[in-house]
């Protein structure tokens, strides 16, 4: 399975999507070449509708003609198929349960609360920002426990939770800029501040997370299109 031709692996996605970013980082970790098929904003390709009929959303991984959807499920698939490459999930079942828990937390609680910051105003905004920061403080604690003094949630190398959360860093920065707020800071989340730097500098990640400016511009386009930035992805 290690040496598929690049046409064998396709990723349906879009450059701003943090969920797509997860898949690309995972494939990079495994040194898997793939064809990146970019969806056009505002329309869905036939291939997308065919390969993800249930949700009609990106990312979709198409491997040897078979499609896999849902970013965290795709990352686990990549880890299991290309198992001669560096491992993405922990080898211990308990550690895997913990990283799955926190990855789900990022999707179910953290990212939604971050998105709300954009549309909130005044007192409501302050409350939402506080909630997001509280969530990040919980992740800081998880980081301290999980990294055991190393650079990443996964230890010496990027792992599942690094990918799940790190993929959000572009939008986290963009939301900080657009909202005039600080989410990750030295005082409350020192470990994560350093982790974010290490993550973004990693070979598998470089070039995949869009510049903050580009995302801010993109958010403006989304507002014009749908009336709300970071609407349904």
């Amino acid at each position: 399975m290690a040496n598929s031709s690049s046409t064998d692996v396709k990723v349906l996605g879009a450059w701003p999507s943090p969920f797509v970013i997860r898949v690309r980082i995972a494939l990079n970790i495994k040194s898997v070449k793939y064809e990146f098929l970019e969806e056009t904003l505002g329309s869905k390709s036939q291939l997308l509708l065919q390969s993800n009929p249930v949700y009609k959303k990106i990312p979709v991984l198409i491997h040897g003609g078979k499609s896999i959807s849902e970013s965290l499920i795709i990352v686990q698939y990549i880890d299991e198929v290309w198992n001669s490459g560096p491992s993405i999930l922990h080898s211990d079942p308990y550690d895997r349960a913990i990283e799955r828990f926190w990855a789900a937390y990022v999707d179910d609680k953290l990212f939604p609360s971050m998105k709300l910051i954009n549309t909130a105003q005044g007192e409501e905004k302050a409350a939402i920002v506080e909630q997001a920061i509280e969530g990040l403080v919980l992740l800081e604690e998880a980081f301290q426990k999980s990294s055991k003094g190393k650079a990443f949630f996964g230890g010496d190398r990027i792992g599942f939770l690094d990918i799940a959360f790190g993929s959000m860093l572009g939008w986290l920065r963009a939301i900080e800029k657009m909202g005039g707020v600080k989410l990750l800071d030295e005082a409350k989340t020192p470990g994560l501040v350093q982790w974010a730097e290490c993550f973004c500098a990693d070979g598998a990640v470089k070039g995949i997370i869009p510049d903050t400016e580009k995302l801010v511009e993109f958010a403006k386009i989304l507002v014009k299109m749908k009336g709300a930035p970071l609407g349904k992805n």
Binding site: H63, E70, I73, Y77, E80, P93, R100
Partner: protein, 220 residues
Amino acid sequence: MADDQVILLDYWVSVFGMRVRIALAEKEIKYESREEDLLGNKSDLLLKMNPIYKKIPVLIHNGKPVCESLIIVQYIDEIWNDRSPLLPSEPYQRAQARFWADFVDKKVAPRGVLWKKGEEQEAAKNELVETFKILEGELGDKPYFGGETFGFVDISLVTFSCWFHAFEMFGKFSMKAEFPKITEWAKRCMQRESVAKSLQDPKKVDEFVVEYRKKSLGLE
């Protein structure tokens, strides 16, 4: 494995708790079940073991907590990997199993048809019916969602079967008439001891739903 200490923090009518009960029963794991008084006071142990969500189920294995039912079921499958596999061994099949279990969580679990009223309830009912149409199609003529053997997707969905009558009551539709394959599948699953022992009596579920709507949501 004989020295393993396994505790499950549970709640009698919880579909999520039931998933873990089924998984533990499939693997024939001895465990201590502790009932939480969710509508009253949550135990100190629950608050300590799941401080983030303060919810059940929580599996406490040799003192260490695992939270979130589908994560727990995968954990059980990975630790007790010498018997009754719950997930397929092939990566693509595993991805499909995870996808459909996650679909159940996203689309069936919210049960808006029970907890809302008026237009919101109608919308939730329509979404639930669409969801079951998709599941009916996905099941097709297979005995189980995974194919020939009972597995992860079946576990994720079958716990809702004791809630089907409540869905029918409040959604005003018939599971059997609209979704005959799922209805047959649920009966087939109930023939397994692990499922029969873990699910709640549908009459008691109905009573719970009516009671909960009244007391906690202020709905008739």
